[in-house]
């Protein structure tokens, strides 16, 4: 039973990290209707830039992080200017494909700037089992995972505050409701989009740092976008709580399935199990767990 809980908690904690990437998607989808396939590339770009600044210019971690944050904000503004602004009013599918192109571009750019070898990212958090839990319940839970989950929690709370309490947040919600109405009451749509992409870039940075510290900063980071997709399907594309709950469900079920069902069918089912789970769920509830009810008219 202890083993079960260990797997479950490990899964839930990694689910938090999936949720973090998924939130980046949700932010952009909610406010601009763009399904941002480049989120994984942005995570990779952010992590590699941070490590690259440390390696090439000898910056300390605490200097490199703000510098990267500035870089991600600049990137967000540049994306709005170069990619999104000319594509205003195009069908959603066009915008989606543009972000696939963007993903390729960012992957190439990141590796061109900083090289393609695997980097270590030394965050000052140790990946050791938490002693108190080990003593009391005899369960091994990594301290790193717990702190990472806490950081995600803080980030989500900060985003929630940003959305609920600030002027920019109000504008964001207005844009999310209706582009044209927002424009009509004088909300600068393009500036809002730029801010949004910048925020998504910062979220990508946090995700990139945490994932990079865990698995090394390498090209495989781009694939966590693929991990975040079933989370999105499950949670609904437009809901931040959905992304979190979806992340937890996917993380836990994926690890449990790998441990308990995996051996029966030859292992390696982590790659597709979340998708199949999300798909089965969609057949019951096509708009996801927390998605908006889709009403379609002719």
């Amino acid at each position: 039973m202890n083993f079960f809980f260990e797997v479950l908690i490990g899964g839930l904690l990694s689910g938090v990290m999936y949720a973090l990437v998924a939130i980046g998607f949700v932010l952009i989808y909610k406010a601009s209707g763009v399904f941002n396939f480049a989120q994984g590339a942005m995570v990779f770009f952010a992590a590699l830039t941070c490590v690259g600044l440390m390696d090439k210019f000898g910056m300390s971690l605490w200097l490199a992080i703000p510098c990267t944050m500035v870089a991600m904000i600049v990137l967000g503004f540049a994306i709005e200017r170069v990619v999104l602004r000319p594509l205003v009013n195009q069908p959603e599918i066009t915008l989606f494909m543009a972000t696939i192109g963007l993903a390729f571009f960012l992957e190439g750019l990141a590796q061109l700037l900083w090289g393609s070898q695997v980097h270590q990212l030394p965050l000052p958090i140790e990946d050791v089992p938490m002693q108190s839990l080990l003593d009391r319940f005899n369960i091994v839970v990594s301290q790193f995972d717990v702190i990472a989950a806490l950081i995600c929690g803080v980030l989500v709370a900060a985003l929630a505050l940003l959305f609920a309490k600030t002027k920019v947040g109000r504008a964001l919600r207005a844009v999310a409701d209706d582009h044209q109405a927002a424009l009509a009451v004088g909300i600068p749509l393009q500036r809002i989009w730029a801010i949004l992409w910048a925020v998504a870039g910062v979220v990508a940075l946090v995700a990139g740092l945490l994932w990079g510290a865990r698995n090394g900063v390498q090209f495989a980071l781009t694939f966590i976008a693929l991990k975040a997709l079933p989370v999105l399907i499950l949670g609904g594309f437009t809901s931040v709580p959905g992304a979190i709950v979806g992340g937890l469900i996917i993380g836990a079920s994926e690890k449990l399935a790998e441990v308990y069902i995996g051996p029966l069918v030859g292992g390696g089912i982590e790659g597709w199990f979340p998708y199949v789970l999300a798909l089965l769920f969609l057949l019951v509830r096509p708009e996801g767990l927390f998605g908006e009810k889709i009403i379609r008219r002719i």
């Binding site: 399904f35 170069v82 990619v83 000319p86 594509l87 195009q90 959603e92 599918i93 066009t94 989606f96 494909m97 543009a98 696939i100 192109g101 963007l102 993903a103 390729f104 571009f105 960012l106 992957e107 190439g108 750019l109 590796q111 061109l112 090289g115 393609s116 693929l226 997709l229 079933p230 999105l232 399907i233 594309f237 069918v265 030859g266 292992g267 390696g268 089912i269 790659g271 597709w272 998708y275 199949v276 999300a278 798909l279 969609l282 057949l283 096509p286 996801g288 379609r296 008219r297 002719i298």
Partner: protein, 352 residues
């Protein structure tokens, strides 16, 4: 001057309904086909045939398949490579396990297997649409490749999971040189392209487009969405399956799951974006573009003496930038450029 339809009268229904109503189009198409079949195998070097023309034709076929699904029926799919893999593995198994199995029949059966898988994974499209569906089709990609890696019966218990494709032999005639493989691929692709062109002009194609443009409205006017969508998935997967079998048999020479990665799916998606979504000609133009681009970039990188790592990263960037560029400047792709060119040619050399 040369491209003008004045004086070409269509007096019968057959003449009115033909694929290429303008005489010049017919002449150009037939001439192209004749050159491709008769002259190219003799003129082109084996390198040109096996490294550029054969993959171009095979990717055109796969792009055609995806274009039927995405361009005509409006169902975005990211699992193209998985359907190709099904086609390749099924064809291999049919030939390996049934003695005396004719090769072409094996390709067709491989395509049919892919169609069945396509129907199975197309089922969610009845309830979900748009991005949810795109994400769901990724499940196909991961699940199918996983199956092909894990179920060793499919690879005949080969320890490495890589199996050599059988020699293509049709009626005792071996297609083993690049020239012969090229002609075979060309004939298959031309036949299937003709079929696709007619299919999208028929009522099946019209109902696909109705579902694409507004599925609720299509349902209201009596098109059954379930049948239409699943048929689109089946036909599209059939094309992809045949393309996958050709990819394994006529191009790679091996059958292995790694050849059908997500990357290949994306490549084919790019082909239809750049070529033109919802256009048969666009599938060919896009495939040509995506096959030739790396070749040109390699030559350019070689000329500038760039290291290979820089060149490969630049290739990614150029790919990405081109996609965005095309979407911004010409969302309908190269096929639309050709259409504009035709409009201009009609007037040339007079301004109006």
């Amino acid at each position: 001057m040369f491209y003008r339809e004045a004086g070409q009268f269509r007096t019968t229904y057959e003449a009115d309904g033909q694929i290429l109503p303008i005489r010049q189009d017919r002449i150009v198409l037939l001439a192209t086909l004749a050159i491709a079949v008769v002259a190219v195998p003799f003129i082109a070097s084996p390198y040109l045939l096996s490294a550029i023309l054969i993959p171009f034709l095979i990717f055109s076929l796969a792009a055609l398949g995806l274009n039927i699904l995405t361009g005509y029926a409006g169902q975005l799919s990211l699992g193209t490579a998985a359907f190709m893999a099904v086609g390749a593995f099924a064809s291999w198994n049919f030939v390996a396990r049934i003695p005396g199995m004719p090769m072409l029949l094996a390709f067709v059966l491989g395509g049919l297997c892919a169609a069945l898988v396509g129907i199975a994974f197309g089922l969610p499209s009845l309830r979900i649409r748009g991005f949810y569906l795109a994400a769901a089709t990724l499940a196909t990609q991961f699940f199918v490749i996983w199956c092909l890696t894990k179920i060793s019966w499919l690879t005949n218990y080969s320890p490495s999971g890589v199996i050599t494709a059988q020699r293509i032999e049709i009626m005792g005639y071996a297609f083993d040189t690049p020239q012969r493989k090229y002609v075979l691929v060309l004939l298959v692709v031309a036949l299937l392209a003709l079929l696709a062109k007619n299919l999208v002009r028929s009522n099946v194609g019209r109902s696909w487009m109705a579902v694409r443009d507004m599925d609720m409205a299509a349902e209201v006017i009596g098109i059954r969405p379930m049948r239409t969508k699943l048929l689109a998935f089946a036909v599209s997967s059939f094309y992809c399956g045949v393309a996958g079998a050709l990819y394994a048999f006529a191009y790679l020479g091996t059958v292995e799951p790694e050849a059908y990665s997500l990357d290949l799916s994306f490549r084919i998606l790019f082909m239809i974006i750049i070529g033109g979504v919802g256009s048969i000609l666009g599938s060919f133009l896009g495939a040509a573009f995506i096959v030739l681009l790396p070749v040109f970039l390699n030559i350019a990188a070689h000329g500038l003496a760039l290291p290979t790592s820089v060149a490969s990263n630049l290739e990614l960037m150029v790919f990405g930038a081109l996609i965005i560029f095309f979407l911004i400047v010409e969302p309908h792709g190269l096929a639309r450029l050709w259409q504009i060119g035709k409009e201009k040619l009609r007037l040339w050399p007079f301004p109006h």
